[in-house]
Symmetry: C2
Subunit: 83 residues, 2 copies
Amino acid sequence: MTEYTATVTVRLKRGVLDPEAETTQRALERLGFDLDDLRSADRFEIDLDAASAEEAADRADEMAERLLANPTIHDYEVAVEDR
Amino acid sequence: MTEYTATVTVRLKRGVLDPEAETTQRALERLGFDLDDLRSADRFEIDLDAASAEEAADRADEMAERLLANPTIHDYEVAVEDR
């Protein structure tokens, strides 16, 4: 078993409204920053033991499917690295 | 001017309690997943125009300092890539 950290990034699908990101963008613009767009995402860093990086990625993928992401409104991606 | 996307990742500092991450970890364990630790972070993807990647990173850094992160409880990191 090797120790891995799986990173799951959960984003809203394109077209889903994100009022928090809009508010953040407007607040930055009010502070004088010039930006074209701002998107927000949630990032989960999960430490786990697995036999291989593939197994760690599969388990993180299942965690995203079952709990971390809502497939109706979210896309997600999984990245795995050694700890 | 080149179009860049700056990614600002905002994490709680080590030692700052994160009840949301603890709840998420326990919920995953209740679903039968085996994990050592789970940390959550906010990720902001900011599209902006700048003369260089360094300038884009500097501006994203200032956005983090002034609005996106709270220096008392957060660490943050900035990554820039071409759009």
